[in-house]
Symmetry: C2
Subunit: 211 residues, 2 copies
């Protein structure tokens, strides 16, 4: 008798996000809601846009560099957040410094509270106007999620985590990511909060026969 | 006896497009399909992005200035066009020069063949790889639509039409347009082919109570 072992694998969607990114705020909330019904596993992948923007000659967000685009983004984000029932209060300054939060997110994602932490950071930043670049703010968010801020912040400042964030950022750049949020399904890149449904569809095999 | 005269007005959506704009190609086809069932009147408003980009310090398309963004755009456009059944062959050079086409579009829109001409230009540019900055190509498109190229091109080069295109471009810039396609409903700006449904919804009164 011979046989095959059938391994059922669920589709995977990479969710690349940057804590300074305004449209990553609704995306981080929408993805949790959408994936409940979609049979797709999400890999949460924090990265830094700073080095990618710097390679394009930008020293701040394009929403600051191009004021018309910035004015539109804030209005558009207000419409999106209103639809989702998410509070929005524009952070000051914008963009916020997301480095510490990104390192902590890597620690939290390696444990089991990653998505909760990511959403908490975005809410603190875009709904509560807290300074997410401030260690004390991040420590408070960690504590509110029931974890020990000293333990977590120590891990987050380890060489291993620092290096992992650099590697992830380099990987984002390598695969052509130029903004956030971005989604990658089966090697296919989708950019923007409004492409999340399309990316989930691609992950589930819809559209793989396409161009 | 007294009474009111009730004037029923249909909602209006302004469709701002630029012939060099890649995402305006699917938008110009989708808008015709969507509006058939949406009870919305479209005002087709050609304009030039060149002066708006120049004000941001750009001398060509951002898709050329930022290669990662450009690579993504062509792939994304291929997916979109495949879904819509629209042929896509990347124009060379990109962007094409849309000045003559924009002036002719203003003439055609003042008559009754505007949308047909706009779609014909986009097909010539993005499906047939024709040079839309070439008068002879535009003359051929006019003739294929059953109009006299000499009459139309003469009108298109009139001071009135030249001035109108400048005024429209200045108006686009004044209301905060920074890219194409853009849609304006009841003073509300929406940017991008993928926001067309949302813009139509806004024009029909959905969302006016929103922020």
């Amino acid at each position: 008798m011979c046989g095959f072992m059938v391994v059922m694998t669920r589709p995977v969607l990479d969710f690349w996000f940057e804590f300074a990114s305004s449209y990553s705020y609704p995306a981080a909330h929408r993805i949790v809601r959408l994936v409940r019904t979609a049979d797709v596993d999400i890999r949460w992948r924090p990265f830094l846009l700073g080095p990618i923007f710097a390679a394009q000659g930008w020293d701040t967000s394009p929403f600051n560099l191009y004021p018309a685009k910035g004015r539109y983004m804030w209005r558009d984000l207000a419409r999106i957040c209103a639809d989702l029932g998410l509070a929005l209060h524009r952070p000051d300054p914008f963009p916020q410094q997301g480095l510490i939060a990104a390192r902590v997110a890597l620690v939290a994602l390696a444990e089991d509270w990653g998505p909760d932490f990511v959403q908490a950071v975005y809410r603190a930043e875009f709904a509560e106007r807290r300074q997410i670049g401030d260690r004390a703010v991040i420590a408070d968010l960690i504590a509110r999620l029931g974890h020990d801020p000293v333990r977590i912040l120590t891990l987050a400042q380890s060489d291993e985590i620092k290096s992992r964030l650099r590697v992830e950022t380099a990987e984002a750049q390598r695969i052509g990511i130029f903004g956030a949020p971005s989604f990658v399904a089966d090697g296919e890149l989708f950019w923007g909060n409004d492409r999340l449904e399309q990316a989930i569809g691609w992950a589930r095999g819809q559209g793989r026969a396409r161009p």
